[in-house]
Amino acid sequence: MNVDFILYITINTLVVLAIAPLFVSMIKKVKAWTQGRSGPSVFQTYASLRKLLTKEVIYSPTSSRIMRITPLITIASILVAALFVPLIFVPEPVGGIGNIILFLYLLALARFFMALAGLDAGSSFGGMGSSREMSISAIIEPTTIIVFAALAFVFKTLNIFDMVSRTAPGLPAAPTLILISISLFIILIVETSRIPIDNPETHLELTMIHEGMILEQSGRNLALMELAAAVKLTVLMGLLINLIVPLGLATSLTLIGILIAVILFVIKGSILAGIIAIFESSMAKKRFFQLPSLFAMAFFFSTLIIIIEVFS
């Protein structure tokens, strides 16, 4: 653990916390445009989070300690997972930080606690959300792991830091990367509960998954859960962006370099946010039990990459 790395931890966390709400709003904004509305301001999410922080927390009398610790554990594990994906500059990896398997399991840790909190209050909405979330996460996992194994196989490393810095000098040469980016995009959509898997905008019992789980949260706890979801979105977007277009990633710690990297990342992120929004707008939400076939498609797609890689 050297000074560089501590600086990296500070900068990466601050940047991701600062940018995350922006990307959420941007997706909403573009979606509003496609529907012919002007939509809320791109800074709306910041305002909502600030509003939530000033509100009181209400716990259901049936809820236990799980409900009370979940927001903290969720945000902590998502923020640690965020350290695994360098957004603006790449230090030397320390002590296994950046390991792709650990990254996946930190996300799983957050999900485990969220699902339990959904069951904690005993309302049927929360249980419904938890049950669906755990089922979906279970059936998407084979695809996720195959895509990540393909990444490890293509880059010959298990560390995201090495993957990002290996592609850093130039644009991706291998067409495999484009194939992998499509798979990563599907994973991004599933992991962040977006259409066609889940609808992040409604609280209808027919559609909701992630929103159902956090229905019982309120006040600052809800703010933490919303922030955690935004950070997760940003981190997965960052992973996709920096693997495919690592252009602009700072390699040394200079103020100018970091500033340029941040600006470039915001631009690249906004473009991806636009793509996500258009993708979402062009689809309807799928029926829950049609999802396995969607995932099967994603799975065969990623297996195809591997077969191409293996036999080429």
């Binding site: 049936t62 320390v94 196989f153």
Partner: protein, 647 residues
């Protein structure tokens, strides 16, 4: 010193066996406490000696008694044996601590003394199996282990279910012994000695056959699908501490046997590894899928044991594949993953069995649908169960993650090296392995949620009380071990002398803690601190009701539907009508049964076949003395002719 400690442990365990059996009619607590203290002391000795051997790497052996020249009761303690002795020691000590209180709450007056005695005997047998120096000795103690555990399983023999489970268990375990014995005899024919020593000239037909037979024998004992049926029968019916011992330790003895023979006797082929890997992955996936469907808390844990044994077999399979394809580094990682997962599974599974024993003790039911709300009523037990659930779901930074991580790493790095065909196989296995891993997280969210969270769903769990403190210490130690082995996994491997590509979990834990504290501090300064406990939104109902909660069945319903091809059901409808043309419905019944695929398509046909053969054979046994004399006479004549002809 090691031999003295070992002998001391054996003598202590023998004392623990004999004392309660001598005082079998004395229904006093102190007898049972003395008896159960013996395993605790023996565990201390064993733990000390195994730590010494693990760190020093010295092998020490001795012969206790040599009846004939070809065979002796001799024991060897090397690093592998000492590792498994450590597993036995930790789990037995914690189980015995818990058991000493638990047994006082059981029925059966002075019969409980026998239970305590046999527990010591069972532990003794396992210790001796692990330290056996030759295969015949191994088999004898293996049989002792099987027999003593049978008496433990059938303690509540007055219940019909228990008797059935006990017989099923006895049959399966004897089948396992039979295969192991057959394998040992085949090896003896090949090598001419009972020593567990390398056989040269690998993969001839007899050696492969010996491996296959031993593999089946160990698989039955370990509960690999399709030989797994005894676990979900025997575990729920035996007392919880016994389930903890059997699932935590006894299954690991089978793992030990497999590793020992693969390591010291055989030079494995590539396809042996593929076989073990396939068996492991099948068990891991099917085990957890069945666990999700199970609503008997201990049945669920039994299926989850099948899953974890599958994970360990996966590690062993990878080890064999890599060592056969000359990748020593990856082979070491996989073997270490399998061994570490054996230890971890022993810890968290016995923790889960003990805490679920407490839950069953408090609620008098094993059905998780009748529990709920226990987090308020049993805060310590729920916290301990929670730690076990997080560990078994392989979440960082606890120990279950560390061992699965090693196996994942082996999978991830291997694909660059092996042949294309094996690449495809490994990728498929990797995907299934990941599926099993997340399904087990889903399974334990469901279990913890239905048992401990929300509102109680039955009057018994409404009035459930926290168990006495003595029943919290044992699980508490196990939970602490789960946390320590996870957080310090990187350091522990460093100390033991293996350089594994494990992330520094201590750093990760500190980061998690740091982030949590930081966020809390920031919120404490900036956000509103008001907290109110009140009804949250409940769809218009005025207060929350247990009947409107999501149940365990409800929770696993999506997975049921997605995997409906595996959960085969049989629907039976009977309808009675008023009229002849079946138009006006009078009454009827409808039943949906979960098809027990393995039982109906594998076990029952085989048992029917055996029954048919047995019926035919039994005709020779007509109960008439004259007939038997005739048999003896014919045999003697045949023998004389045979000897005269050939000798």
């Amino acid at each position: 010193m090691i031999i003295e400690l070992f002998l001391l442990a054996i003598i202590t365990l023998l004392a623990g066996t004999i004392v309660p059996l001598l005082a079998v009619s004395v229904n006093r607590r102190y007898i049972r406490t003395i008896s159960l203290c013996c395993p605790i002391f023996a565990s201390l000795f064993l733990g000390a000696l195994s730590l010494v051997v693990l760190f020093s790497g010295e092998t020490s052996g001795f012969t206790l008694y040599q009846p004939i020249t070809e065979f002796s009761f001799s024991f060897v303690i090397d690093r592998l044996a000492s590792f498994f002795l450590l597993v036995i020691a930790i789990v037995s000590a914690c189980v015995a601590l818990y058991f000493s209180e638990y047994v006082e709450h059981m029925d059966g007056s002075s019969r409980r003394n026998i239970l305590c005695g046999f527990t010591s005997l069972f532990i003794l047998a396992m210790v001796l199996v692990v330290s056996s120096a030759n295969s015949f000795c191994f088999f004898l103690f293996w049989e002792l282990m099987a027999a003593s555990s049978f008496f433990l399983v059938t303690f509540e023999y007055t219940h019909n279910e228990t008797r059935k489970a006990g017989l099923f268990y006895f049959f399966m375990t004897q089948l396992s012994s039979l295969f192991v014995l057959l394998g040992i005899i085949m090896l003896y024919l090949e090598s001419g000695s009972f020593a567990i020593a390398p056989i040269h000239g690998a993969s001839t037909l007899p050696i492969t056959a010996a491996f296959l037979v031993l593999f089946i024998g160990f698989s039955i004992k370990a509960g690999i699908i399709p030989f797994h049926k005894w676990l979900p029968y025997a575990h729920p019916e035996s007392p919880s501490p016994i389930s903890a011992l059997m699932s935590g330790v006894m299954l690991k003895i089978a793992i030990y046997g497999l590793i020992r023979f693969l390591l010291d006797v055989f030079t494995p082929d590539l396809w042996w590894g593929a076989l073990i890997l396939a068996a492991g992955i099948t068990s891991a996936v099917l085990g957890v899928i069945y666990a999700l469907k199970e609503h008997d808390i201990k049945g669920m844990l039994a299926y989850s044991s099948i899953e974890n044994i599958g994970i360990i077999f996966t590690g062993i399979g990878l080890w064999v594949i890599f060592s056969a394809s000359n990748l020593p580094l990856l082979a070491t990682i996989s073997l270490l993953g399998a061994l570490f997962h054996s230890l971890n599974h022993a810890l968290f599974k016995s923790l889960l069995f003990l805490t679920s024993g407490s839950v069953v003790h408090a609620t008098h039911t094993r059905d998780i649908e009748h529990m709920g709300g226990l987090a308020h009523r049993m805060p310590y037990t729920s916290a301990l169960f929670f730690i076990g659930a997080v560990s078994i779901s392989a979440l960082p930074p606890l120990n279950g993650f560390a061992s699965e991580f090693l196996i994942f790493t082996a999978f991830f790095t291997s694909v660059a090296f092996v042949s294309p065909l094996f690449k495809v196989l490994l990728f498929i296995c990797l995907a299934l392995f990941a599926l099993a891993s997340t399904l087990s997280a889903a399974c334990f969210v469901k279990a913890f949620g239905s048992i401990f969270l929300a509102l109680p769903r039955s009057p018994q769990s409404e009035v459930a009380k926290e168990v006495p403190r003595a029943m919290l210490i044992g699980p508490g130690i196990l939970a602490a071990a789960c946390i320590l082995l996870g957080v310090f996994s990187f350091q522990i491997f460093g100390i033991v002398g293996f350089n594994v590509p494990l992330p520094d979990m201590l750093l990760i834990s500190l980061l998690l803690l740091g982030m949590g504290v930081l966020v809390y501090m920031v919120l404490y300064v900036t956000a509103s601190r008001e907290v109110r406990v009140s009804e949250t939104w409940g769809c218009g109902s005025r207060s929350q009701q247990a009947s409107s909660e999501y149940t365990g069945h409800g929770f696993s319903e999506p997975i049921d539907i997605i995997f409906s091809a595996i959960y085969r059901t049989r629907t039976k409808n009977e309808r009675v009508f008023f009229d002849l043309k079946n138009c006006i419905f009078r009454e009827g019944t409808g039943e949906i049964h979960l098809l027990k695929v393995f039982e109906e398509y594998l076990y029952n046909p085989i048992s029917q076949l055996f029954m048919q053969v047995a019926t035919k054979v039994s005709r020779f046994q007509n109960g008439c003395l004259d007939t038997y004399l005739l048999y003896v006479f014919v045999t003697v004549i045949a023998l004389i002719i045979f000897l005269g002809w050939f000798a």
